[in-house]
């Protein structure tokens, strides 16, 4: 029964997704609203099942569940459920309400869950592609919109390229270690005193393939265009769930099978982290579209999160997990605010459109300001704690240069986050936005409260992320 128990959440997800798809296809009327609601409920039930499912390694090591995967799965589900709640109003307004939307998101989530739990390079690729294919379709979901189609195409072409690189990397690793199982690779690499060139290249390719999906610089090129072109509801999803899923996998792969070659890839991850932080900070300065701004902001955030991976320690993993959890909540809040930006039923996306919001709609301005301050890492908001933990991890691993780069980019990034607040609070007014729906209010309200009150109760997240990080380092007792 253990196989079934461990697989139950994912089986449940897959079966329900199929039912949702079929009911959409064979029903005459449009059920997209009901299906969206069902998908959110489905995510909640799946989360419950995940906590009930026992730890285990099944199918001869292809699929693994432990505290780490549960933590990442939960973040993915939260991100997906939040993005779905935000999507309803936006999709209605822009006329892209179709039942495929929630179904595609559920399929993407299935891919992410498989990805997170992968115990073998084959499962990894399977989950990766399942997720990616759903994401490509989602990016061009507003199919009569030129920019959305362009975003989808760009994402698909570059994504296909990165998948190819990933696959090539996987084949190299397989070739030089003789196995695709994580445990086997780890064993093969432990024996050799220094890595062979082939396996190093393989690792680099895997890193590139995964780095593309989390938009780590220098593989970030697609991010601003896709963020801007895709419908905002899709962007909200892109910014949260897939990043967390691929990041979780990155942690598991680098610190699992590739851990013995830590010395070989540590510099590489440091460079990725530094480049992401720098490009995230500098690229955002000139942006006038808030979605492009958020794209660069997310590139920067991935850089900070990568710092934890570069540390390669338990403290580092814990810091990254905390950072990701906080990042998901902040992103949902911010994108909730972005989705709420519409006038007379048409979405607006320029930062200048926010002018004078503080006197027009004080509550909205306050929420967005809280999100911006939090993203800039100003205490006492939750974003500060994310930075605090990753800096601690970097210092602990003696990555002083990386930490100093992080400090400098934080200051630069603060400038453009401040600009958004400045536009809202100091500039002269423009007309208010359309009335917000309950779904948006709920998401931005909850994320704002979580961001502000985190300081009073930070220990549960650190406890949970400690548990998750220890699952990745079984040798170090809790």
């Amino acid at each position: 029964m253990t196989i079934f128990d461990t697989m139950l959440p994912i089986l449940f997800l897959a079966l329900t997704a199929m039912i949702m798809l079929m009911s959409g296809v064979f029903s005459r009327r449009d059920h997209s609203f009901a299906i969206t609601g069902a998908a959110i409920v489905l995510f909640a039930i799946t989360a419950r099942l995940m906590f009930a499912a026992p730890d285990g390694t099944i199918f001869h090591g292809l699929f693994i569940t432990n505290d780490f995967t549960r933590f990442a799965d939960l973040l993915v589900l939260v991100g997906a459920a939040g993005a779905l709640s935000l999507s309803v109003a936006f999709n209605q307004r822009t006329g892209i309400t179709r039942f495929e939307y929630p179904v595609l998101i559920v399929f993407a989530v299935i891919g992410m869950v498989v990805l997170i739990s992968a115990g073998d390079l084959l499962t990894l690729y399977l989950g990766f592609e399942l997720m990616s294919l759903a994401l490509y379709v989602l990016a061009s979901f507003a199919r009569y919109n030129l920019r959305s189609s362009e975003a989808g195409l760009k994402y698909f072409i570059l994504g296909a390229l990165s998948s190819g690189i990933l696959l090539y990397g996987i084949s190299l690793v397989y070739g030089f270690s003789g196995t695709t199982a994580f445990t086997g690779i780890s064993r093969a690499f432990t024996g050799s005193a220094s890595a062979s060139l082939g396996s190093t290249i393989g690792i680099v390719f895997v890193l590139v393939g995964l780095g593309f999906k989390i938009s780590a610089a220098p593989f970030h090129m697609w991010t601003p265009d896709v963020y801007e072109g895709a419908p905002s509801s899709v962007t909200a999803f892109f910014a949260t769930a897939p990043k967390v899923a691929v990041f979780a996998l990155l942690l598991r792969v680098m610190l699992g099978p590739f851990a013995p070659l830590f010395a070989q890839w540590q510099d590489l991850v440091q460079i990725l982290a530094a480049a992401s932080m720098i490009i995230g900070a500098l690229g955002a300065i000139g942006q006038t579209s808030i979605k492009r701004l958020m794209a660069y902001s997310s590139i920067g955030h991935m850089g900070y999160a990568l710092m934890g991976l570069a540390a390669g320690s338990l403290i580092g993993v814990r810091a990254t997990l905390i950072y990701l959890a906080i990042y998901v909540v902040m992103s949902l809040g911010t994108f909730g605010c972005i989705i709420a930006m519409s006038r007379k039923g048409r979405p607006v996306e320029r930062i200048a459109d926010l002018a004078g919001m503080a006197s027009e709609d004080g509550r909205y301005a306050l929420v967005l300001a809280i999100m911006m301050w939090s993203m800039a890492g100003i205490p006492p908001l939750s974003g500060f704690f994310g930075k605090f933990y990753v800096f601690a991890a970097a210092i602990d691993a003696h990555l002083n240069v990386l930490a100093v780069i992080g400090i400098i980019t934080s200051v630069i990034a603060a400038f453009y986050y401040l600009r958004v607040i400045k536009v809202m609070y100091f500039d002269a007014g423009s007309p208010g936005f359309d009335k917000r729906t309950a779904g948006i209010n709920l998401v931005i309200g909850v994320s704002a409260i979580a961001t502000v009150l985190f300081v009073f109760y930070p220990s549960p997240l650190s406890t949970v992320s400690s548990l998750a990080a220890h699952a990745l380092f079984p040798s170090q007792g809790f």
């Binding site: 301050w373 100003i378 205490p379 500060f384 930490a403 100093v404 200051v411 401040l418 400045k422 100091f426």
Partner: protein, 502 residues
């Protein structure tokens, strides 16, 4: 645990700020309620501060009113509060000046609720920072001040408010982030962020140097030590007056307090090593800024520059490492907080009567507003250190401390003090005694009851401290003596971190 009076003082303003946002009938009612909530909350905090002042036992070594609670137990980070003789008076100063700032902004009409909430938030942050005994808490309060202050300058400030607000924010943030790295390093090194533990954790000298520079960046920017002061004239000049009062009287003290609380006890070797540099920066501040003040054409900016000059004196006092010098610096900080607040209040009184603040348009106020003129004259004299006022005590103690260390340090600092007399008197002459130059001055009206209520207590305190300085010095004598003894002990080697410097 005894009654959590410090927690109450910290969180009460936050509760007050939250209360303002309960929806009320009309905007006017909301604004009126916001004003009264802000005033009463800050007055209650003032009463609580007075209770701590009375209850404080100056003879006890270490911290009083301590509170501890679990916060992030996994990482040995806790909610720790306490006061000693050094921090006591800053808490009292914050609690005293917040109601005055709120009274001074009674006529503010734009977005009153947000405004009052920002001031209460500011009070929470400042008191929290001075009362923190945990480094992470300290850092959070220290940085969080940026949020309300950014809004206060940017929303309610003068013409160039946006520039000033962003400059203030970015400068301070850039200064503070190095301290975050220092915090993280010390946490990693000692395994806890408990400041009492950190004070007794030895650190290798070459690392102390780096940490000292990190602290210098953040505390130096906050305290506006020359040459990190360039944000200050903009921020002081553009902030609304009550905001300027809080900036000059309380926030600038956060930096000086940081040197006393962190740099000196935690990094004794580095502090000694860098002391000549700090003297140089302090003296440069006093002299250079005094000349810059002379060149100002705006009364508010001139007072702002005088404030920077006094911070230079305080820095010199702190880095003498003598009991008398540090006590002088502390005394000067308290005195400067009172005096500068009063001077800015005087500026506000002129503004409220529709006066321009340009020195070439003011004049002849001595005959038209005699009571005002008397108060302004008195506070200017206190600012330049006339015997009998609190300013004199602080200056003389610092000078005595400095002369024990180095004659030239004392000499140059003293020169700066003479310069301060020069520009302050120029200001007084132009504002009070020349003939009236503009029609605006025709609007006559001496102090109202409310203005009396704000200025008179400050004047009494300044005078009181001037005549009975022991009231203040006995309270912090124990803490300062302990600080200096600890420093001397750390510097004399049986320690295995013996100094090995070129």
């Amino acid at each position: 645990m005894s009654f959590p009076i410090l927690s109450l003082m910290i969180w009460l303003p936050l509760v007050g700020a939250a209360l303002m946002f309960i929806p009320q009938g009309s905007d006017a009612a909301g604004a009126r309620n916001a004003r009264w909530i802000a005033l009463w909350t800050s007055l209650i905090v003032l009463v609580l501060a007075a209770i701590t002042l009375v209850d404080f036992n100056p003879g006890i070594h270490g911290f009083q009113f301590t509170e501890t609670a679990a916060w992030i137990p996994q990482f040995h980070i806790a909610y720790r509060l306490g006061l000693d003789g050094i921090s006591l008076f800053f808490v009292v100063l914050s609690a005293l000046l917040t109601p005055i700032a709120i009274l001074a902004s009674w006529r503010e009409m734009r977005r009153v609720r947000d405004y009052m909430a920002a001031f209460l938030l500011l009070e929470t942050m400042t008191i929290g920072m001075f009362a923190s005994l945990d480094f992470l808490m300290f850092y959070i309060f220290f940085e969080a001040v940026l949020i309300p202050m950014y809004l206060i300058i940017g929303v309610w400030g003068g013409e160039r408010r946006i520039h000033a607000a962003i400059k203030f924010f970015i400068f301070t943030l850039a200064g503070s982030l190095p301290m975050l790295l220092a915090l993280v390093w010390m946490w990693h090194h000692a395994g806890t962020t408990d400041m009492l533990t950190l004070m007794h954790t030895p650190i290798a000298p070459h690392i102390q140097d780096w940490l000292f520079i990190a602290f210098l960046a953040s505390f130096g920017v906050k305290a506006a030590v020359w040459p990190l002061h360039t944000w200050l004239p903009d921020a002081y000049g553009e902030a609304p007056l009550p905001g300027t009062i809080m900036l000059a009287a309380v926030l600038s003290k956060m930096g000086a307090y940081g040197f006393l609380r962190f740099s000196l006890p935690m990094l004794p070797q580095a502090s000694a090593y860098f002391a000549p540099l700090m003297f140089a920066l302090g003296i440069m501040g006093v002299i250079y800024i005094s000349f810059a003040a002379l060149a100002q054409t705006d009364m508010k900016r001139m007072i702002a520059y005088s404030s920077v000059a006094h911070m230079g004196l305080i820095i010199v006092g702190i880095f003498t490492f003598t009991v008398i010098g540090i006590e002088g610096a502390l005394f000067q900080m308290v005195s400067h907080g009172l005096v500068i607040a009063a001077l800015f209040l005087c500026v506000g009184i002129l503004l409220a009567r529709g006066h321009s603040l340009r020195l070439d348009q003011l004049g002849g106020l001595a005959t038209r507003m005699p009571v005002f003129a008397a108060f302004l004259m008195f506070f200017v004299m206190a600012n330049v250190g006339l015997p009998g006022t609190s300013g004199f005590v602080g200056e003389i103690l610092v000078m005595i401390g400095a002369i024990q260390i180095n004659f030239w340090v004392a000499f140059l600092t003293g020169t700066g003090m003479i310069l301060s007399v020069m520009y302050m008197l120029v200001m007084v002459r132009r504002v009070l005694f020349d003939h009236a130059r503009s029609i605006a001055n025709a609007v006559i009206g001496d102090l109202s009851a409310k203005e009396w209520l704000m200025l008179a207590p400050l004047a009494i305190m300044v005078l009181g401290l001037g005549f009975i300085p022991s009231g203040l010095t006995t309270a912090f004598h124990t803490a300062v003596t302990d600080l200096v003894h600890a420093h001397v002990a750390a510097m004399s080697p049986p320690s295995h971190f013996a100094m090995a410097r070129p």
